[in-house]
């Protein structure tokens, strides 16, 4: 199929339609409104459900209702709207029903502004709602990836009966890029056995987001944790650039930049520029922020001189990178907030600083306000990483 030039927001909407979304409930908020508008036109054309809710609070509960009916359903919003949806997300998680959420992030806190940001990392990846649960969080860096990950979000949400979110920012939402759209999928013909469809010729079904007895609620939590662990085992995705881990390779990245989404693609320009200057640096771009590619980062930390995390927030994914690196190498951070997009020059400068601070690979004298990388790493760590590489 020929490529089309599409805006991120509209491409996601069309991708969801082609993935077979049967109902969309949403509320206008910049910078995701084109997604809602696109749905308002296309869904009725296809005889599917579109409804503009009275609030994000109502929208997420409509999504919850339609998901209980076993239907493929989604909503989209932007940061302040996502904050309002957190209550519903907690109920949805407790109910094990699949939903897809698209968050086109904008600057915060408060009303903030409508400029691009990545400051929903915590509220999406860690989930701001009450209780122990974790959604799947997919972070595209291109419009094509946004299309592909939207389809994947529906698959994963249904496979694991979980919340799957596509997390992007205003840049990707507003940007046009060539995309290849997938073919239109057939809608599911029969709802799953657990769905709330009326107890016709079968025992009644219930979808209940509570367990009054402690034993029962713990069992529900354990089931959620089992699911989270399974997802972590099977669904980690990331993309790496100029990181050559081949043993003995001279191209091996000694410095690793970690960035997702728009920050990730901007960082790619910076990494390429730094490589031209002879700095051995590569980019690790997580695609699943949840499950987080912690094992891979830990593996890279075995040999890397240092890490630079770049985000459009004050350092949120930074915490997960630090946990993954586990003190094996210094982790620096460069972030912009308020709707500022980091520029390649700025990131390139940070890479140079990291290079200076971590010194030559054979010289472990490091100065600067960065945690020292231990010269002798614990043997256990090395054992683990050798195993995982084989």
């Amino acid at each position: 199929m020929a490529k089309q030039l599409m805006k991120g927001n509209e491409a996601i909407a069309e991708a969801a339609i082609r993935a077979g979304v049967e109902a969309y409930f949403g509320y206008p908020i910049t910078p995701q409104t084109e997604l809602l508008e696109y749905m308002s036109k296309r869904m009725p054309e296809l005889g599917r459900v579109f409804l503009q809710a009275e609030s994000e609070v109502a929208a997420i509960n409509m999504v919850y209702g339609a998901a209980c009916a076993g239907r493929r359903v989604m909503t989209s919003s932007s940061s302040p709207g996502i904050s309002l949806m957190q209550e519903g997300l907690s109920y949805i998680a407790a109910s094990h029903v699949p939903v897809v959420i698209v968050d086109v992030m904008r600057g915060g806190p408060g009303l903030g502004n409508i400029a691009p940001s990545q400051s929903d990392y915590f509220q999406m990846v860690k989930m701001a709602g009450h209780g122990d649960y974790k959604p799947i969080v997919l972070a595209p860096a291109t419009v094509q990836e946004a299309v592909d990950l939207t389809a994947l979000a529906f698959d994963l949400a249904e496979r694991y009966r979980t919340i799957a979110t596509v997390l992007l920012d205003g840049v990707l939402g507003q940007m046009m890029e060539p995309v290849e759209l997938p073919a239109m999928r057939a809608l599911p013909t029969t709802p799953p056995a657990w769905a709330i469809t009326g107890a016709a010729g079968r025992a009644k079904n219930s979808v209940v987001p509570f367990r009054m007895q402690a034993d029962d609620l713990e069992a529900l939590n354990l089931e959620l944790q089992r699911k989270i662990a399974e997802i972590a085992r099977r669904e980690v995705r990331f993309k790496e650039y100029l990181i050559d881990t081949t043993s003995g390779s001279t191209d091996k990245a000694e410095l690793i930049v970690v960035a997702f989404g728009t920050a990730g693609r901007v960082a790619l320009s910076a990494v390429k520029a730094a490589r031209q200057k002879g700095i051995c640096v590569g980019l690790h771009r997580p695609i699943t922020l949840s499950p987080f590619p912690d094992e891979r980062l830990s593996q890279l930390a075995d040999e890397a001189r240092g890490f630079l995390v770049v985000e459009m927030n004050a350092g949120q994914m930074l915490q997960d990178v630090k946990l993954s690196v586990g003190g094996q190498a210094p982790v620096r951070f460069y972030g912009r907030t308020g709707g500022q997009v980091p520029m390649p020059d700025d990131i390139a400068l940070e890479i140079e600083k990291l290079d200076e601070m971590t010194g030559h690979p054979l010289d472990h004298k490091i100065e600067g306000p960065v945690a020292l990388r231990p010269v002798d790493r614990p043997a256990r760590r090395q054992e683990t990483s050798r195993t995982s590489r084989n």
């Binding site: 490529k3 910049t30 409508i114 840049v171 940007m175 693609r265 901007v266 910076a270 520029m343």
Partner: protein, 185 residues
Amino acid sequence: MTHYDVVFSGFGGQGVLFGSQLLAYAAMEAGLQVTWIPSYGPEMRGGTANCTVVISDEEIGAPLMRRPSAVVALNYPSVQKYEPLIAPGGLLLYNASLTLRQPERTDIRCVPIPASDTAAELGTPKLLNMVMLGALLQITGVLPVEAVEQSLEAHLPAHRRDMLETNKLALRRGAELAQTLSVMA
């Protein structure tokens, strides 16, 4: 390696969006990677609008840059805004019909195109964006004018089909102007 970045800037209604999108379409249809990103938000309600286009034959990293290498300024505020920002060695293509003061920088190439006057001469004052785009294509060689003409045929909205030939004419006129200026320079 091909890598161009260009900012289109002008008043709302001057065709900033369509002119820049057309370039993006043409790049896509030529098999290149391309990103197109508008400024969005309160500034889209009147005032100066701008769109950034990056064209490359490799995966595009940053879709925005602090110092663009080329700027197509459709009005004077855009000249004022972008003249100081353009990367050294870059290009400022400006609508001389609406410019009150000549750009002063000597480390960039400043090319005046009387776009509004030219478009008015063609009887279609609104097509100043096409005149400027034609000039950009001629000066940078990023894509042949014919490629953009083909994209025009594919993407000119249905209710503007009657303007297809005039759009093409404006494009070519822009290219001719730029060529004449280049010869003179």
